[in-house]
């Protein structure tokens, strides 16, 4: 999870666009940029753990809090990976678990465990642009958007950023018409994504507010999603970030939903 959670979307896979940065030979090509960004945002180290507090502030300034521990294990960089999200707050959803097996070539597998109902439920992930437990983050922000779903175009290179505009290949599946990503030239972390709605109006901003190095890995520790139309926003703050803690694949299985692995606890 690393920077992670936060991260928005960016993920771009390569499959994409030939348009890109043709004609600028001195620069990396757009596919390379989005790939690197994807890796920097979602695949740092082999695994990771972080404690996350998300604070949702609605248009009237009312706050709601979600606190959880997130574990991530990469099977292969840029490819399959696993997420395990263990909720601590609000207290009435404590022990709730959300697990994702992210795939690049097919729909993700997602599970939720609801302890009070003693229920493990699989959630269809064909549409990942649903809210992450009521926050302004979408599931896709947390686990990453498949690079192949958009075509990418390098629209500008500034002193600090590569500015990439991504347009979905299937407009029906999503609520935006395109988004523009500022990718840090140094570390390739996506720093800001601005989404345009179907009328071409900005309506959603995802931004990294703070980046810190852990084990030499630049990591977004504070990020924010703002929904301009609703006037609400969610701030995500990460602490206790650790990389390469030796997570085992077996804990990312249904069996561990009811009995969380020790790794989530401290």
């Amino acid at each position: 999870m690393k920077r992670t959670t936060v991260l928005l979307c960016m993920l771009l896979l390569m499959a994409s666009s030939p348009i890109a940065a043709a004609g600028q030979p001195d620069q990396p090509d757009v596919e390379e940029i989005v790939n690197k960004a994807n890796l920097a945002a979602y695949y740092s180290a082999n695994d990771g753990r972080a404690e996350v507090t998300m604070t949702v502030t609605d248009s009237q300034g009312r706050e709601r809090i979600r606190e959880f521990v997130i574990l991530r294990l990469d099977v292969e960089d840029g490819g399959q990976q696993f997420f395990y999200v263990y909720f601590k707050k609000p207290s009435d959803v404590r022990k709730m678990v959300f697990m994702v097996h992210k795939h690049v070539t097919r729909d993700d597998d997602r599970w939720v465990y609801l302890p009070a109902l003693d229920l493990v439920k699989r959630i269809a992930a064909s549409d990942k642009r649903t809210s992450f437990v009521g926050t302004n983050f979408l599931y896709e922000d947390v686990s990453g958007r498949n690079l192949s779903e958009d075509s990418h175009e390098l629209v500008e290179t500034t002193d600090k950023f590569y500015v990439v505009k991504s347009t979905p290949r299937d407009v029906n599946g999503v609520e935006f018409s395109s988004y523009t990503l500022n990718i840090d030239k140094e570390n390739f972390l996506p720093m800001k994504a601005v989404y345009l709605d179907k009328n071409g109006k900005e309506y959603r901003i995802v931004e990294a507010l703070k980046v810190k190095e852990f084990d030499g890995i630049p990591t977004v520790t504070v990020s924010k999603v703002t929904d301009l139309a609703a006037g609400s926003s969610t701030l995500s703050e990460m602490k206790s970030i650790k990389y390469d803690i030796g997570l085992k694949e077996k804990i990312f299985t249904e069996r561990y939903l009811r009995r969380p692995p020790r790794a989530v606890r401290r």
């Binding site: 009312r62 609000p90 939720v112 229920l119 959630i123 009521g134 609520e175 139309a229 020790r262």
Partner: protein, 881 residues
């Protein structure tokens, strides 16, 4: 009267100065009209700091609720109703189009696109294979096949939040709910939708647009059209009628000028003083016009009858004004008092209405006594010649004689069989009183349109298909009581004792800590804070391998937080079940077609989490179960939808009611029913309840209006009586002056009760007009009777005189005004029709009561009411003899 004659003299001697002054005065005041600010919002019937409005606005904010335009789509021809690819394509196009609507001049006035309820914009939770649920847009894209279209329908029908509101119960019609940020944007939304529908081509689909905001906003727009059409039409009608009676255009132009100047000046002052042009104030011209014309007609009618006798306009005018000045002043004062009393109602627009009609009446009086003499003086002598003899001749030969014959018949009947007349009127009054007790107070802004109006049609069609297009919100709120330290200890002990079973060591540590610390502290919060520090330290010390220890200390800490969350009453299963029961009760009563609550959300999601099993359409048994169900719902495309039904802190919940009728009586029944239910079935925790929503606000202002009107009417009745007694220097004559008014009110409101016409805003306001007009006739009649009696000394002779020219003036007024306002009947807006019909009825009956009852009563009472007049007569005749 000294004042009278000096004013008259001035006017007779300086006609051009008077006229110029009047024109300048009117133009100056009229110029303020350019500052007009229109306000068609019935909410403004209540002042802004009225509790219900404050609460309504707070509710809208707390639950992010908006006023809604309802677009209904019905297809009677297709086998699947609107659930066919073609209709759904239009539905989709319309909802996408609606999402873009905004006022180009003020982008804040817009459709709130994210909260639109439409198949493409609502989320659905469905089964997606064994053990798997799926959140998806109900209609992600327009279906290509009939089968897909039917699937959309089936999913919608299986969602209790949509069934009866977005999709009709029979699965054949759809309703889109388009929230708008500002009610006064509703009409524009409606118009643009209509254009879009036109462009798409309706085909077999029928489209209906309704909802209170659109009714209210459209009413406002049409109101001005009506003002621009009917008010001038009424004026034209009055003009033609006067032309018919007086046969002299030049002469009758005068009252028209006065009415026009009065209306312009009054509206100018109204607007110039910063008042908005509201539904009520838009009626001011219609009320001022008859009253302004009435005075002029009194003068002209007499002038017309007398001029031929002495052929000297100056002398005639002096004579006419000599005996009309006083009654005219008093009629104007009493009418003005009647309207001014509306200033004591608690409803700002009604206050403004009363005050400015009163002002207009006084202004009309002033202009009448100033301008009419001046005008007569400015006329060419030749046209007066013509006017005097010729017309009178004409009159006698033709209709005039018919009029006269009838008048004489009424007069002889009243004096010949007085008891019959009195008895008949008492009988009418008795029936009237019965009718008054049958009056039903009711209003509904949608019914301000004729029943053939498209909004009324839409209202009927959509309310027959759906749960209702009238929304109101019942807000329940927990009463947040802080626990004392001892109470908190008790709760924690009970809760944790059970939860920490697995380790007696930890359990003992926890329980002991509570027992020891609690008595030393005051509040539960303090206790929780202290325990939290203690137990967090314990948790930190738990060894890495000790999973049980970690779990249990976490549980203990969790218990502290759950205690803090006890105020989140709307996560409690018992409270949610209570709400469900209340909903069931409401729907069973019939007025509420549909209700949406957080309980519905919990039940629906709970069911889908358990494989769509109907047995799980229920509230989970624990707060945690509810919370986890709700957080599952929040993992959808539109988690915010939850917060239309409950506040994020779960301390307040919205029972969102849809009513099929916006009639206040129906809403009142729901309110009474809920009060009763809450008393009979006390909720599991103490809950406060309060209402919001336009349908409810209408009930509140109606209540205030009816009570306020009643009070203001009673007070003005008393004031008018005192003024009459003062004018006639006799309480008996004062009482007599009240007779026509009392019988008119009895008759009019009796009829309203008997025919079942709802007592609504215009009907309420008409009582003031009835008072003003009826008193006007009575004063003229009585004042003239006393003068005639003093002159003739004999009642039989006096009554003959009375039923000549004075009665004719009254009758002319009755005819001019009652027929003059018939154009109002053509208005497509019911309040205007009401005013037209009742204006005529009031004129007719108050005139009748004056000309019929007063002479009958005077005949009966002649022995003792005329003492003063007879004395005067004796003195005069003594002198003459």
């Amino acid at each position: 009267m000294q004042l009278a004659s000096s004013v008259t003299q001035f006017s007779l001697n300086r006609p051009k100065v008077v006229t110029a002054l009047m024109v300048i005065f009117t133009l100056v005041l009229g110029a303020f009209m350019v500052r007009v600010h229109v306000d068609t919002d019935p909410e403004n019937m209540l002042s802004e700091d009225e509790f219900v409005r404050v609460f309504h606005n707070k509710t809208k904010k707390d639950f992010t609720l908006h006023d809604v335009v309802v677009l209904g789509i019905v297809n009677e021809k297709d086998q699947d109703g609107v659930f066919n690819p073609e209709s759904l394509k239009k539905v989709d196009a319309l909802s996408r189009f609606a999402a873009t609507l905004a006022d180009p001049d003020d982008p804040e006035r817009k459709v709130v696109s994210r909260d639109i309820v439409a198949p493409g914009n609502v989320d659905n939770i469905i089964q997606d294979g064994p053990g798997r649920v799926r959140f998806e847009w109900l209609m992600k894209e327009v279906p290509q096949t009939r089968e897909e279209a039917r699937k959309v329908r089936d999913y919608a029908l299986s969602n209790p939040l949509l069934k009866g509101s977005m999709v009709s119960e029979n699965g054949r019609a759809l309703a889109l709910y388009l929230p708008i940020t500002s009610k006064d944007f509703a009409h524009a939304v409606g118009e643009q939708l209509k254009e879009k529908i036109e462009e798409l081509g309706a085909g077999d689909d029928q489209f209906y647009i309704t909802g209170l905001p659109i009714a209210e906003d459209t009413f406002g727009k049409e109101m001005f059209v009506q003002m621009a059409i009917t008010a001038p039409l009424a004026m034209l009608m009055i003009f033609l009628l006067m032309l018919f009676f007086f046969r002299n255009i030049q002469l009758i132009v005068a009252p028209m000028i006065i009415a026009l100047c009065t209306v312009i000046a009054t509206m100018g002052v109204l607007i110039g003083t910063g008042n908005t042009l509201h539904i009520m104030s838009s009626m001011i011209p219609i009320f001022i016009m008859p009253i302004a014309v009435v005075d002029s007609v009194h003068i002209l009618s007499e002038f017309f009858d007398e001029y031929q006798r002495n052929k000297d306009r100056k002398a005639t005018m002096e004579h006419v004004l000599g005996h009309l000045f006083k009654p005219m002043l008093f009629t104007s004062l009493t009418s003005a008092a009647g309207f001014a009393s509306l200033a004591f109602t608690p409803i700002p627009p009604v206050q403004a209405f009363g005050i400015f009609v009163a002002l207009g009446i006084l202004l009309a009086w002033l202009l009448t006594i100033l301008f009419i003499p001046a005008y007569v003086m400015m006329m060419k002598e030749s046209s007066l010649e013509n006017f005097g003899g010729g017309v009178d001749q004409n009159n006698k030969d033709n209709k005039g004689s018919l009029l006269n014959r009838h008048l004489r018949w009424i007069g002889s009947m009243a004096s010949g069989k007085p008891w019959l007349v009195i008895g008949f009127n008492l009988a009418v009054m008795a029936v009237g009183v019965v009718g008054i007790f049958m009056i039903q107070v009711n209003d509904n802004p949608v019914k301000w349109f004729k029943s053939s109006h498209e909004i009324r049609v839409a209202d009927r069609v959509l309310n027959s298909h759906f749960g209702g297009t009238y929304e109101s919100y019942l807000i329940l709120s927990g009463t947040d009581k802080e626990l004392s330290s001892v109470q908190a200890a008790d709760w924690l002990t009970r809760t944790l004792d059970k939860q920490l079973m697995e380790s007696s060591t930890i359990r003992a540590k926890v329980i002991n800590a509570i027992r020891e610390i609690a008595p030393t502290l005051q509040s539960g919060t303090e206790l929780a804070d202290t325990l939290k520090k203690l137990w967090e330290a314990e948790l930190d010390q738990v060894a890495m391998e000790d999973e049980l220890g970690y779990d249990l200390w976490s549980d203990a800490l969790d218990g502290l937080e759950r205690m803090a969350n006890l105020k989140e009453v709307f996560k409690r299963p018992d409270v949610l079940r209570y709400i469900s029961d209340l909903q069931e009760h409401l729907v069973a009563q019939g007025d509420v077609g549909k209700s949406n609550t957080v309980s519905d959300v919990v039940k629906k999601v709970h069911m889908e989490l358990f494989e769509g099993d109907k047995g799980h359409y229920s509230i989970p048994d624990s707060v945690e179960g509810v919370a986890q169900t709700l957080i599952s719902f929040e993992s959808s495309h539109k988690p915010d939808d939850l917060y239309h039904l409950v506040t994020p802190d779960y301390t307040r919940a919205n029972i969102w009611l849809q009513l099929r009728s916006g009639d206040n009586v129906d809403m009142e029944r729901v309110i009474a029913d809920i009060d009763q239910y809450l008393t009979k079935n006390p909720p599991p925790v103490e809950l406060n309840h309060n209402w919001a929503g336009l349908t409810y606000i209408n009930v509140v202002w109606q209540e205030k209006m009816v009570n306020g009107m009643l009070k203001s009417f009673i007070s003005s009745f008393a004031v008018v009586f005192l003024m009459m007694s003062f004018l006639f220097r006799s309480p008996v004559w004062g009482l007599l002056a009240m007779i026509p008014l009392t019988f008119t009110i009895g008759f009019i409101y009796g009829v309203i009760g008997l025919i079942g016409k709802d007592y609504d805003m215009p009907v309420a306001v008409l009582s003031s007009l009835a008072l003003g007009l009826a008193v006007d006739f009575a004063i003229h009649f009585l004042q003239r009777t006393r003068m005639t009696m003093a002159k003739t000394g004999d009642w039989a002779a006096a009554i003959q005189d009375m039923f000549d020219e004075p009665a004719r003036a009254i009758l002319r007024n009755i005819i001019v005004i009652s027929i003059g306002f018939t154009p109002l009947l053509l208005a497509p807006l019911v309040p205007y029709q009401t005013v037209g019909v009742f204006l005529a009825a009031i004129m007719f009956y108050s005139g009748l009561a004056t000309l019929w009852m007063l002479p009958a009563l005077l005949t009966v009472m002649q022995g003792w009411v005329f003492k003063k007049e007879l004395r005067e007569f004796a003195e005069n005749s003594g002198k003459t003899v």
